[in-house]
């Protein structure tokens, strides 16, 4: 539902968000971002309104809004903005300003799990490996895929790829599509056995420290396994 309350400019400190480095004050209010955004109109919001509120210094109100969490971070707005305003950066900053306990429930819990266990589901390593090998067996049973195995922690492979948690939970069938492509292409690929989580909810919740932890783990795999190409579908 759209907010209709009066904005009292005299009560605002317009310089509050001025130091933010996203060029938000250059906004021409052209509306190209709002036109491109897939989430435009939800809750009566769009990227242009967000930028305007930050320029006016309405930080508290923006941080408590739901819309910044609906943004998919697709980046179409930034791609088109004639003033090169980093709107996704702005969204992330707004997300980071929320107290962690108020981050939308599942995101915060998932992130805690990922930081502690290496994946959003707290799925133990044995169970994870079991699921991967189970799917590999099903592929190997199909004509043309005889001998298919899933390479785990393979040193010196060409590509390292991460795994979205849903692919070892509710959507295990989807693993088959791209594993079969790898096989048909004769690709030399591997997945990690630990810290395999493909999503990065540190990025998603505006938690820069957590984002860095998650990313460092992936980078760590690359170094450890001596792989220089990363396929990160998330």
């Amino acid at each position: 539902m759209e907010n209709q309350s009066v904005i009292a400019l005299n009560a605002l400190d317009h310089g509050r968000c001025r130091p933010w480095p996203f060029l938000q004050d250059f906004c021409l209010t052209c509306g190209i971002c709002a036109g491109a955004c897939p989430a435009s109109g939800v809750d009566g919001f769009d990227p242009r309104k967000l930028v305007r509120m930050i320029s006016l210094g309405m930080e508290d109100e923006t941080v408590s809004e739901r819309w910044p969490w609906i943004c998919t971070m697709c980046g179409k707005c930034a791609n088109l903005c004639p003033m090169e305003i980093d709107i996704p950066g702005l969204v992330q900053k707004i997300r980071s300003r929320r107290r962690r306990e108020e981050v939308p429930g599942i995101l915060h819990k998932g992130l805690e799990a990922a930081l502690e266990t290496g994946n959003n589901l707290r799925l133990p390593k044995d169970d994870y490996v079991f699921i991967l090998e189970d799917v590999a067996e099903e592929i190997a049973a199909e004509p043309g895929f005889e001998g298919f195995t899933v390479p785990i922690d393979k040193t010196g492979a060409r590509i390292l790829t991460t795994i979205h948690n849903k692919l070892v939970n509710t959507h295990t069938e989807d693993l088959k599509h791209w594993w079969k492509i790898f096989h048909a292409a004769g690709e030399d690929w591997t997945v990690p056995s630990e810290n395999w989580e493909g999503t990065n909810w540190g990025y998603f919740t505006g938690d820069d420290a957590a984002m860095k932890t998650m990313t460092s783990r992936i980078a760590g795999h690359m170094e450890r396994l001596e792989i220089d190409t990363l396929l990160w579908p998330e």
């Binding site: 209709q4 309350s5 904005i7 310089g15 250059f26 209010t29 305007r52």
Partner: protein, 534 residues
Amino acid sequence: MNKTALIIGSGTCAKDLAETLAASGVSVLVAGVDGCAPAWGPGRTPNEASALLEIMDGAKIRFITGTAGGFTVEFADQDRRIRREVRDILIAEDPVPQVNGSLYGLTEGAGVVSLSAFKSMLNPDSGNSEAFESLSRVAFLTGALDESLPLIARDVMQAALDLQQNKGVQAYIFTGNLKVAGQGLETLSRNAKEAGVIFIKNTERPPEIVQAGDESITITYPDEVLRRPSVLNPDLTVVDETPLPSPRLKTLGDLFELETGPDGFLQADNIHRLLTFTNRKGIRVVGPARGVFPPVLIASEIAHTALSLSRTKDAETDEKNKARIETGKCVRCLTCVRICPYRAVALAPRPVIAAAACEGCGICAAECPCEAIAFDTFPSTATTGAVEPESEAGGNRSGASDFIPHVTVFCCSRSAVPARNMARAMNGGFPEGLSFIDVPCAGAVSRLHLLNALSNGADGVLVVGCHPDNCHSGGGTLLARGRSDGLKMLLPRLGVAHDRLAFKNLAANMGAEFSQVLEAFMAHLESLGPNPMK
């Protein structure tokens, strides 16, 4: 030859123009039409070229006679009468800013000031720095009802930027549509935004501005981006101004019989008058006298004027292309005096052509009821009939019959003649039967020219002139069309089809259209058959 220039104006532009001209070696007289010459300021004297710069302070202009190259100006300084001879007259009158307070429903006072007043406050020399200590929010209203003028937008943004950056005051700019089409304006708007100025655009309806009795202002508006009602109580509101042509321009326009622009400035909206020319040779309008310009353009216009003056030759008095009045025939009706767009007919006391100002357009000859004016450059009404049809190879004809129409085509030198040359180059020639009579301006083609052509062998008569806003003489092409239209109404009474006479507006680059018009006209005349008047 005396090369003194008279500058008429009472503000900055006249002052700058005077100094620039004097510095380039031109003797300059500076006067205001009603006695107010520009003020050079207390203790500030004109620059080193002051020997060439004479300021007629307090002297009013009573009248001006003469023509290009030799004007006589008479001043009245209380009881004294002073006469001076000048070669050129330059009008450089600053615009008058109209404060738009009433537009927003505001009266100036403690809480509301005009933009000019606010700019003075910001001026470091004004000693007003404490005034800003009590301010925390200032609202600027510019073009809040429609669109901003780039010139005013510049001043507003500069003032807002100064406030925000140097005085620690929050500035708001309320506008209908911010126009930044001007040198450096887009950068200025970005700098202002970067410094923290808040721009509020109200394109759907203007903000509601209420001035309470205690001088406090409340601005209420729907934010068009956030779609929420918003309210501001600024400590000070600055209303913009619209630069209007000075009332002195009307006085000068009447005094000099100058064409006026649609907005009251002293230059017709006609490309032939660009850059600083008027309908009168020797009289120029500079900068704010002819429109609203930013300072950088006025400066370049002043430089251009100095250059242009230094290159102006003394007036040509070569009689060949000028009008000649045959005094035996002249009945002193003064039609020529009134109709000349260049004011080139003087009364001395009988009408006399001022050769230096005459541009040879021929309008006077066409309008003279006694055929008392002649030109060497085109046939007068009495001799039109003697022209032989010109026969050239080439061109297209429908060729359906043996009848070859004889067509007399009157061609304006600025449109039809170049178009004809272009057509000839493209097509290699014209069909048989055409006679071309070249005139300086379509306005030189009189009713008698047209009637004589029709009664002396032409099956059809075509007049080709410039488009209405493109006529060098201002209204020559319109006069010609009027005569042609009037005559078309009479032709049926003579037993002649009205469409044997045609008028066409063309431009110099319309060679293809020139050919098409001729072809179509000749085809039509073929279907009409020979002129019954033959």
